[in-house]
Amino acid sequence: QQQVKQSPQSLIVQKGGISIINCAYENTAFDYFPWYQQFPGKGPALLIAIRPDVSEKKEGRFTISFNKSAKQFSLHIMDSQPGDSATYFCAVVKTSYDKVIFGPGTSLSVIP
């Protein structure tokens, strides 16, 4: 079963633009929502994460918006740069289970 859905599958954004990636989950028991960034040939790296008791979290150019009732959350990358070109995975965690469930990923290309 697909517990985490992510869209779009790929995204092309001009330098300086806003990149938006959306994620939806099914199980209300999840209680931690990270985003991972993966460059080619590397493992995923934690980018930013949010808990369901807040609706937004910002770290530099990266913001997570969280809608608990809709079971959706999104990643916004402001002032996107070519160095942001990577695959982005949303993920969900239930803290009593020690595992991360990844979404299918979004390939972001930021063009000059």
Binding site: D31, Y32, P34, Y36, G41, K42, G43, P44, A45, L46, A49, F89, V93, T95, Y97, D98, K99, V100, I101, F102, G103, P104, G105
Partner: protein, 114 residues
């Protein structure tokens, strides 16, 4: 910055052979994990390991898989009799606390079963 180190970076093996994928987690981390990523697909959980025991495993992690922490620094994944469908990137990860605090992933071992 501390890293999770995985060796080899690429391994080719014949179907039916045993392979051992090796990982050196970050030295003060206590929780250890294996994930895999079939080419172009999502990252999938295999197993978590804490206090010398498996704490969680997925349905993918069947009897042909095993994990071990043979000494104070290494963490290994053994696949006893490889199948073509085991071809994937295998990522080791470690964490000081459980998943909610964020893992550090290694760069992966690309396993190709021929």
């Amino acid at each position: 910055e501390p890293e999770v180190t995985q060796t080899p970076s690429h391994q080719v093996t014949q179907m039916g052979q045993e392979v051992i994928l090796r990982c050196v987690p970050i030295s003060n981390h206590l929780y250890f994990y294996w994930y895999r990523q079939i080419l172009g697909q999502k990252v999938e959980f295999l197993v978590s390991f804490y206090n010398n025991e498996i704490s969680e495993k997925s349905e993918i992690f069947d009897d042909q898989f095993s994990v071990e922490r043979p000494d104070g620094s290494n963490f290994t994944l053994k696949i006893r009799s490889t199948k073509l469908e085991d071809s994937a990137m295998y990522f080791c990860a470690s964490s000081l606390r459980q998943a909610t605090y964020g893992y550090t992933f290694g760069s992966g071992t690309r396993l190709t079963v021929v």
